[in-house]
């Protein structure tokens, strides 16, 4: 299981009004573990009011910059991103898991490829890492970036992208699409929709020349662009996706306080929620797992190993209490938030409510 390591914050730079770029340094013994691949992300954890919160942010540095750096845009109501934007300072230490993610293609120094990137807002972070790495390590490859933002002053890394254009003349081009700001070319104003994609492919980008496309942004943008890329002849294995932070679930809610105390009754009334419907049944003995009871009652609950190892059967205990015989898959913070492995969960109270939907 991936473990957390301390990273020292060596720099916090304000990038836009609501985004910061944070430079991090692993301990010497962790350097190898943090030797990232372009386009990967880091998962951080931090306690907020006694509750652990985990958030992933993409690395924006290129492989040749010799640093670990992430971009963090403040999200409305987002505890971690607000804290990072307002209170994080050099010298602080952040806990992070080693880099993860498969949002990249392998570098081939002799390759003569044309990459196309689409980034929406802070979705630029992993794409920037890929752009820098590809341009530096594949001297014959080209990169075209289509970058969507609300307005000019919300564009992250605007200057850095301009510098890259100058550094790699003829190999890197950027098309800025601004939602609320008029530009000389109408096509570059408004949201990226199917119409705009057609316009881009008609006049600005030769779809047939594209080897790989990278998309990172919010859900509707990913759908629109992926559909258009397929319409223009790209196959699934030519399209790489990274769904950005909006898809992350909200703060892990605290485990609900049990409404009942332990008791000695031998039976339990179990309510199981699955796919939005709930079913209640009686468990006649206390030596059966909640999963087995649900299966015996014809509920198609997910499971695989039934040995507390794989975590397929993870559920959330909403009411009552259960005890797990073994747990090799859930971390402490998940257990504190009320999650349990249903294959191992024996009820302790005469009523339990569990959900596979949360």
């Amino acid at each position: 299981m991936a473990r957390f390591h301390p990273l020292e914050v060596t720099d916090v730079r304000r990038e836009t009004r609501d985004a910061v770029v944070v430079t991090l340094k692993p301990r010497a013994e962790d350097a190898e573990a943090f030797d990232f691949t372009q386009g990967q992300y880091l998962t951080f954890r931090r306690d907020f009011d006694g509750q652990e919160l985990r958030r992933s942010y993409s690395i924006c540095a290129g492989k040749d910059e010799g640093v670990l750096r992430v971009g963090i845009k403040r999200v409305d109501g987002g505890a971690f991103s607000t804290w990072a934007n307002e209170e994080l300072n050099p010298g602080a230490v952040l806990d992070a898991m080693p880099p993860m993610g498969k949002f990249y293609t392998s570098i081939e120094p002799d390759a003569d490829k044309h990459y196309l990137g689409f980034a929406g807002g802070s979705g630029i972070t992993p794409v920037l890492s890929i752009i820098k790495t590809v341009l530096a390590r594949e001297p014959k490859s080209k990169f075209t970036l289509v970058y969507a933002n609300r307005q000019i002053n919300s564009i992250m890394f605007r200057e850095e992208l301009e510098d890259l254009k100058n550094l790699y003349l003829g190999r890197f081009s950027v098309i800025h699409v601004l939602e609320t700001e008029g530009q000389e070319i109408d096509l570059f104003t408004g949201r990226i929709d199917d119409e705009k994609m057609k316009g881009l492919f008609e006049r600005w980008i030769d779809a047939g020349s594209i080897d790989t496309a990278f998309i990172c942004g919010p859900e509707p943008m990913m759908l629109t662009i992926a559909a258009s890329l397929r319409d223009h002849g790209l196959s699934d294995d030519q399209i790489k996706f990274e769904l950005f932070a909006s898809g992350q679930p909200g703060r892990a809610k605290a485990r609900p306080v049990s409404k009942q105390t332990h008791d000695t009754a031998e039976t339990t009334e179990a309510t199981v929620m699955l796919d939005g419907t709930s079913r209640t049944f009686q468990m006649e003995s206390r030596d059966m797992s909640v999963l087995d009871a649900a299966l015996a009652n014809d509920l198609d609950a997910p499971y695989s190993c039934k040995a507390g190892v794989c975590s397929t059967c993870r559920c959330k205990v909403l009411e009552g209490e259960v005890e797990m015989a073994v747990n090799h898959a859930l971390e402490d913070y998940e257990v504190r938030a009320g999650y349990a492995l249903s294959c191992q969960a024996i009820p302790l109270t005469d009523k339990v409510v569990i959900s596979y939907d949360e």
């Binding site: 993860m100 979705g123 992926a226």
Partner: protein
Amino acid sequence: MSDTMNIEDYLEQGGVLTSPMNVPARYRGELLRLMGSFVDSELAGSAGFAASINFAPGIKERIAASRITLEKADHAERVLNVMGSFGTDTARYQNQHNWAARAERDADIGTIRTGGDMRLSVFHYPITGWADAVVMNVLMGLATGVQITELTRLSYAPLAEVFREIAPREARHAELGLEGLERIMANNEQREEALESIAYWRPRVAATFGHAGSQRFETQKRLGLRHTPNEDLLAEWNNQLDTRLSTL
């Protein structure tokens, strides 16, 4: 681009998820179940084929059977690593079951998962000899081809990528089987044995496609984990198999 949408709507419209951090709870469960079934089937398939190496009549066949044994274990490991990113204890998982365990040849298992693991029921039946091993590999190899092609389109990008990597190698296993079956069918004595094996394995492999009108399929489809109904995949396999067998 601050607009977002409900993740269930996104998936229904063909959206792709990219990390354990952005999958909803139900999606997580179904995704892990699908991966568990694949890993268990590959490990059980590999373990079953390991014994067939010693049925091989020659070096060429021995190498083919060894390669299949090796690569199926490798494919299991690749998918197990994706499970690991969701918290699965991968070291424990691979020792959880006796992957070589088999039921009786004439046991009636149907499509019900038996024993502790999630392998497809066909991997509970023992292989009895070289012709039998080759036939099983051809029939199941073609079925795997149809089933993996379906999975290369699934909505969890890191897993879809793994399936796209292993699909050509699984296809090669079926090709190796077909080459072996051609040689067997050219020999009158072995031909009879192979025909019996085809009759034995065909319904058992067909059962791996699951039931028509499956509720599980509807759930998986809603989550973008599947696209083509079981009965259509089964029909595709029957077609492919009939075409291949008709040339032998």
